[in-house]
Subunit: 342 residues, 2 copies
Amino acid sequence: MDLTQRKEQVLKAVVEGYIASGEPVGSKTLQNDLFSDVSSATIRNDMADLTVKGYLSQPHTSAGRVPSQRGYRYYVERLMSRNKLSPRITEYIEEKLIQSADTPENILKKSTQVLSEVTGVASIASTPSGERARVHKVRFVQTGRQTAMAVLICSTGMVKTKLFRCDFVITSEALNIFDKALNSLLSGMELARITQPFIQTVAASFGEMALYMPSVLIAVMEASKEALKSEITVSGQTNILSLPDISVNAAAQMLRFLSSKREIASLLCEKPNGTAVYIGEETGRQELYQSSVIITHYEISGQTAGEIALLGSVRMDYKNCIGCLEYTADVAGQLIEQLVAS
Amino acid sequence: MDLTQRKEQVLKAVVEGYIASGEPVGSKTLQNDLFSDVSSATIRNDMADLTVKGYLSQPHTSAGRVPSQRGYRYYVERLMSRNKLSPRITEYIEEKLIQSADTPENILKKSTQVLSEVTGVASIASTPSGERARVHKVRFVQTGRQTAMAVLICSTGMVKTKLFRCDFVITSEALNIFDKALNSLLSGMELARITQPFIQTVAASFGEMALYMPSVLIAVMEASKEALKSEITVSGQTNILSLPDISVNAAAQMLRFLSSKREIASLLCEKPNGTAVYIGEETGRQELYQSSVIITHYEISGQTAGEIALLGSVRMDYKNCIGCLEYTADVAGQLIEQLVAS
DNA sequence: CGTTAGCACTCTAATATGCCGAGTGCTAAC
DNA sequence: GTTAGCACTCGGCATATTAGAGTGCTAACG
């Protein structure tokens, strides 16, 4: 299934030419731009062969060639040069991300914003799930006579709060007792283990205090549930409408897809190693057959923590998009890691 | 500026006919549908007069009539029958809202969802703002070596948190000092008064501590900003793409508008009494010249608490939309009131 | 004076026609 | 294997034609 070197060059030139212009690429254009040493007829022969083999297709007999899905795939896997981004871009991304480096959520929100800005497509990110997280500390802050806030600080640096109401008047002594009891009990525990049955047994074990615990424990449990699930943020939806080769209909389908967190989550969780590129039908979703998706993950302390992705048209600038995406994921991961470390 | 009764009938019929069909309405169509007692020529005369007076316009000489902005306005103000919604709709709305009556945010989120569903346009809502709120207390919770969380407790019972990072290692003594200093300073203060210049003078007054204060003060300020501003939720953006008379370009502009919370906020805060309808240019925004907006508010304990709105094309079904909107706002207000009371 | 019938007129949308040119595939020569 | 040459294809654009919907105007009517 290998191609001769020149055919690879032709394929690469067609893909990049088509990505750049949006117009089917003809043999003469290629000759002028790239292959002054061979004639257009030779290129025509090569293109004909690439068409037979399924890497290119023609919109109609007298038009130039357009990459097929298979052509894009060959390009992405074997022809695309993964060269450096320009320092202007990397600096820009870094600058924007550092500005909002206060919480993981905001870093990822900003990541999608800056990505959609520099790539011109839509961007998605999922915040770190608390799957492997443990309880670092629990704190309580009184907010009213009978209301207080549980603050759950996770080993990952994530902080979740939950307001709760008690049916007794709260005193600082009571909060102190809760604090001591729960910290000695929960510190270091995996979030996933704080479940309904677990808090029931805990409550029971508190003897005379048991009466006062339920609302407190439920608050902590809900905070930990919140921390467990990863949030999804989307930016750049409006970019989809400006994509030149996406019909209104297809754009509507893509936007509908992006407005369903459930759909997005199912797409992001198809975790491969490294960066995955799904082209057209490879997305496996009817509503994304005219779209391509690039998914990568960011790491915290060397562990995959969450995903960042781009959603655009099949004719997107894979080289640039992959570059920006991976760079942003890298920076975002580092920033979140710093946040956690401190 | 009054019209004869028949001309009003003609105007009403044109508006409703055009809203229903999307096609310019001709004299014969009107005669067949509504005015079997007068001839089409008479209607033509009336339409010609309404055109001269600016209530109708013609896409071109040989086409039927289409309502002008002024025509829509006259219709909305004087001709539209504000009759009851069908019980099927009201029951449906009520059922959906009651399902998610746990927090004000969720009630309003659901309101926009159900509204965009039943009206086929986009919907916006703002949560109650903290305008009249004061600072009750400020608390700090350490979350890491160099990170902490400011907890702002408002007189209305609203609680906002903000994580921040310091460029020094945080000790519990430091937090205690912040706590004392800021509580004596801020307790009872209106949220609106915690501004950039204010915190600068405060920071300056702290003498040798001044170096350590900025990040803390900024966190408190941002928390109070959060508490002050009402959140905005949007649903049904994808509906905009299905609006038949909105060009892709106009749809993109509307979606861009909807993705900017700031823009939305400025639109919602043009508070009139009761329900306001802005048709086309009346929105006062270039990007919404092809759109219409209907804004109403919901009340808690008889006080205006926030806004709910619809955004659609100029040719929207004002009667149905206004009905659904007002009904939903009513129910949402009641549900939130119940929540606050408890 | 308001209403009506009749009719010529206007303009769009849909369909047909012809032409240009980009780009191809094929063949024969190198 | 490569190249030049050439006939051929087909979409896109501009132009012409037609059908039909709807109008405005005029003259007649009660």
